[in-house]
């Protein structure tokens, strides 16, 4: 294959990775930015979204798009509810203590993973794509659905950005992130904001998973890679910075696509990890982050 089409394919693949990664990492970043909690169970909310997408789409007969759309709406809601319950039952009782919550979310990771293994099973199960259109380029074919994932993710990112910057809910969240004590002094129910943010973070991961599951199937161990990559993205982009998260996700996704296609996937992972180390040494607050108060 010639260089041009090769690069095009690499870019397309990279964009799909970026799109899913941006949504997942944004969830992680929000939770950290507002609550100062490192949510190690984030990848499991991603997995839960995919598994629920499978359950919902197989329960609904008829055109595959029906089941998929139902999953796109319902799966994040259920995952959000699970996250909310977990937040109320566990994180709040730990007073959002940074060290305590890390250990608690590690526990949540295993509980969710093992519950999925018990009730869903160890198989990888496919979810049918809502439509199967193959874009025929002169050099190779490409899945139309994959491109629609990129578009859907972009729309969701813009929507999240609008909510954060243009609505009262967003204002309250930003105020809590900026200084939770002062926010509380001004009558903001910080406790409820925390619950909402944790659920929202999990829902973003779940949406990303529902989008990706027609491409890569639901499996109970699928949460590990997204968790690792999300951490990489969030650290490079700057914890708590929406813009940084998106930029870093595109950066990591594209470099992953291009490097793994021209060289090797292992090298792509090495470079991403090395980038994290360099950022941590030379710019610990991330590319767009601000020093925490």
């Amino acid at each position: 294959m010639h260089f041009g089409p090769h690069l095009l394919l690499a870019t397309l693949e990279g964009l799909v990775t970026s799109a899913v990664l941006a949504l997942t990492a944004l969830g992680l970043s929000l939770v950290f930015g507002v609550m100062r909690i490192v949510n190690v169970a984030h990848g499991e909310f991603f997995m839960l979204g995919a598994v629920l997408a499978w359950a919902i789409s197989t329960a609904i007969s008829g055109h595959p798009a029906l089941g998929f759309l139902a999953a796109l709406v319902l799966a994040p809601l259920v995952v959000g509810a699970v996250a909310l319950v977990a937040e109320r039952l566990v994180l709040r009782r730990l007073n959002y203590n940074p060290e305590g919550t890390i250990v608690a979310t590690i526990g949540m990771l295993y509980i969710i993973q093992q519950l999925a293994l018990t009730f869903y099973g160890p198989e990888a199960r496919p979810v049918e794509a809502p439509f199967s259109y193959r874009i025929l380029l002169p050099w190779f074919g490409y899945s139309g659905y994959k491109l629609s994932v990129v578009a859907a993710s972009a729309v969701l990112l813009v929507a999240t950005w609008l909510v954060l910057t243009r609505t009262r809910v967003g204002l309250i969240m930003r105020a809590t992130q900026y200084d939770s004590e002062t926010a509380q002094a001004f009558g903001i129910p910080v406790d409820r904001v925390y619950g909402g943010v944790f659920a929202l973070g999990a829902m973003l991961a779940a949406v990303a998973a529902v989008l990706i599951v027609p491409i890569s199937q639901a499996h109970y161990l699928m949460g590990q890679d997204p968790l690792l990559l999300s951490f990489i993205v969030v650290i490079i982009g700057g914890l708590g910075s929406l813009r940084g998260t998106v930029v870093a996700a595109v950066l990591i996704g594209l470099s992953d696509g291009i490097i793994s296609m021209f060289f090797s996937p292992t090298l792509a992972k090495i470079i991403a990890t090395a980038a994290v180390a360099l950022v941590l040494v030379f710019r610990p607050q991330g590319l767009f982050g601000t020093t925490p108060r």
Binding site: M1, H6, L9, A10, E13, T17, P64, L117, G121, P122, E123, A124, P126, E128, A129, S132, R134, L136, F140, G141, Y142, S143, I215, S216, Q217, H219, L221, M222, D225, G257, S260, M261, P265
Partner: protein, 432 residues
Amino acid sequence: MDKKPFDLSKSRLTRRTALKGLAAGAGLAAAPGFVRYAQAQSSAPIKIGFQSHRTGIGAAYGRWYEKTTAAAVKAINAAGGINGRPVEVVIEDDGTDPGRGAEVVGKFATQHKTDIVFGTLFSHVVIGSAPAAGEAKMPYFVVSEGHHVASTKLNRYVFQPGITDVKSQIQSMAPWIAANAGKKVTQIFPDFAFGYDHRDYLPPALKAQGADVIAQIAIPPTESSFTKYFPQIPAETEVIYHVMVGPAVLTFVKELGEFYGSNRPQLFGFIDSLEAVDINSPGLEFLDGSHFWEGSPRYAQADDSAAQKAYRAAVGIDDNGAAVGDPKDVSTAAHMFGCWETLYVVKKAMEDAGYKGPEDRAKLVEATEALTEFAEGPEHPQGPKTFNGKIHQCFGIQNISKVEGGKLKVVHKTKIEDGLYEPEGDYPKQAL
């Protein structure tokens, strides 16, 4: 053959006791079952430790290996068991992980005190567990397909009497590939032991037939996205020889279809790339007309023997190779027959050896090594086999099937002789 709750609690108790460092006597007292069997060995069941891939990347195989094993044990017990003793299977999950695998073998040896260990598929687990089996002097019957047993790099306690190894499979099919599919071959294989057998043995086998491997692409078995590997396939490729394993095999084949569409090179795949996956899944239409290796055919064939029909009914798969009553639950038919056949080999060897209990394990090894042939029939429904006691490996026929009208139809069967090669070593020379 599920583990009984009684066993479960027993094992938990024993482990805890051991952890606390209490004397072994206390452990035995807490587990009266062991004592009873030790006293009444003649009528006690023969215990087969089943190292199963219940979780991890081999889970689909593990489930069907368990079903096949349960069916075979039921049939063996209904016919009077082994040496008049019933067979009992104890299952431990190895998580498709080599480290866990070795632990499980140890657990069978010291805790469950099984007579043999059996049933492992994934080659890295076999390679990781074999030293533990050798150390415990525990006969270890694998159903793995890899060449590692026959390479004689493992040890005298490891056997593969129920399924042909990859080297032999490749050697017997290479002439067909070169003659019918094409001369310029690109290989896609999983980046671990099983894939390396394909990497190492296909090029010389094709070379002998005047064909060439022009590119080799290794993909980690845990990979979830594959399109990025496809540009490495050279444009002049005439045949893509693919063999993938792991939870994302469907994605692999689907993305191959998206990449090429109907304008594709010839495809020759090991059914591993689609084992436990419905070949009529959306997105797989492009496979029509392509060819697959199958150890045992997934779909019922017109010329199936009575033994094959009886075997399929006993295991509970329908004419499409899916579970009876659940057409979506597609089996791992191409491999799982090996469990059935291996158990009958174990039965034959134990009866030849006059096997009474773990003290006769060495006799069992020698009796297995003395076997030479398995005739086609209810005990060996996949077909006749020969067995080479020097390398602990059996040799059987292979099927090449074509995807036609949403089914796999066998178009070529190799002969046993096609797959024979010079032994690379001699296990019986090792001390027992």
